[in-house]
């Protein structure tokens, strides 16, 4: 039976950003790409959504302080 980890209550939504969206995010936050939080390429969610090293994931968390919170993670080599 499949594990279906993306549905688990502890796992937030991970979405792969397009190259243009990545540029927009970097410009808006005024940072370098490498200053983003990271995620490992063998992370179970990265494997599940088939993201490649160098991709940036948009993660939409449920936050106990803000309701919803959006953050990003760069997939490492």
């Amino acid at each position: 039976m499949k594990k279906d980890i993306l549905k688990h209550e502890l796992v937030p939504d991970h979405v792969i950003l397009s190259k243009s969206d990545v540029q927009k995010v970097i410009k808006e936050l005024n940072i370098h790409l490498e200053q983003l939080p990271k995620i490992k390429p063998d992370d179970p969610v990265v494997k599940e959504i088939e993201a490649k090293p160098g991709d940036v994931l948009k993660i939409m968390r449920k936050s106990p302080t803000a309701g919803k919170f959006v953050t990003y993670r760069l997939v490492l080599e």
Binding site: P37, I39, G67
Partner: protein
Amino acid sequence: MQDTKRIMGVIEKKGVDFPKSLVNEIVDATKRHDLTGKELGKLLDEIKKAYERAKVEDGEAVGTVAAQSVGEPGTQMTMRTFHYAGVAELNVTLGLPRLIEIVDARKKISTPTMAIYFQEDYRTDEEFIRKIANKIGKITMKDILKDFNINYAEMNVVVELDDDKINDKRLEFDDIIKKIEKAFKRVQINKNILSFEPPTPNIRELRLLADKVRDLQISGVKNIGKVVISKEGEEWVIHTEGSNLGAVLKMKGIDRIRTTTNDIYEIERVLGIEAARNAIIKEAQSTMDEQGLTVDVRHIMLVADMMTADGSVKSIGRHGVSGEKASVLARASFEETGKHLLRASIRGEIDHLSGIIENIIIGQPIPLGTGSVGVIMKPRK
């Protein structure tokens, strides 16, 4: 105004960017007091002012505040562990030792445990739950024997399997025989009576064989020991001693949304780093709550964020976050002073003195708060 869409439209037109939970509160309040558009507008102005004032200022030493906020209740926590009050028979680490386990990012924790929930169709079916519990929980030969004899005269071990116990635990006789044949080379099977022979006929080998027979695992998921079934509200839940999230999530009938473990390293391996971050927050909070201490969640969230920022769960100590600081003086002032200073001098390391601790050591203003800005004089023309 009672229409959520209209209310949210007014909020959007004001151009204020509030977090979702605040927006929800505003919508609820607008409906409760039945505010008009103009009243809502005035309310939003006031809220905007209060929100700006409540926001953390740039340069606030949030790390220090978080450390103190988590550390202070730590001094009030019990250093001894005691039995889990909820489910009897299961011993779970509580209090300060548990908090230390979490913050040290221990890969092997002292009392891993799982809470297994079931899908809607199965969760009130006690029979199904018992079957699963027997499949998951560790069952050894010892649990299904009617008779056990070490025969020193004939140099063998003779056991009799108990059919009642086998049926009680919902096991299949043939599966058991298969496992026994796989594990032992010299075994003779005569219906329920099995006799085992050691490779060499001496007393020591015989005794070892007897232990091996008794402890042979016939059923159960790897790493899981005792299993306890309990009813929580309307549904049946299984609590386990030991944890194997990967294997359990694959089983039929398991609720793949809520089934969880307290082993954070396992959550990182099976569900990913974001899940591990949420698990750190949940575990730390429940540890504090259980001791009767209230720590605002944002401090714990900061610690969890620091531990998981680089893609894997790092401990706070010298093998993790604190050991990875760029400044020599910062690392030396934390732990292993001589080692860091010696190594730095051998390598000719440069300390750029841009962090907090280094500047405190040399007596300069720190790059936080007041020190986060530099003042330059503009020469008069």
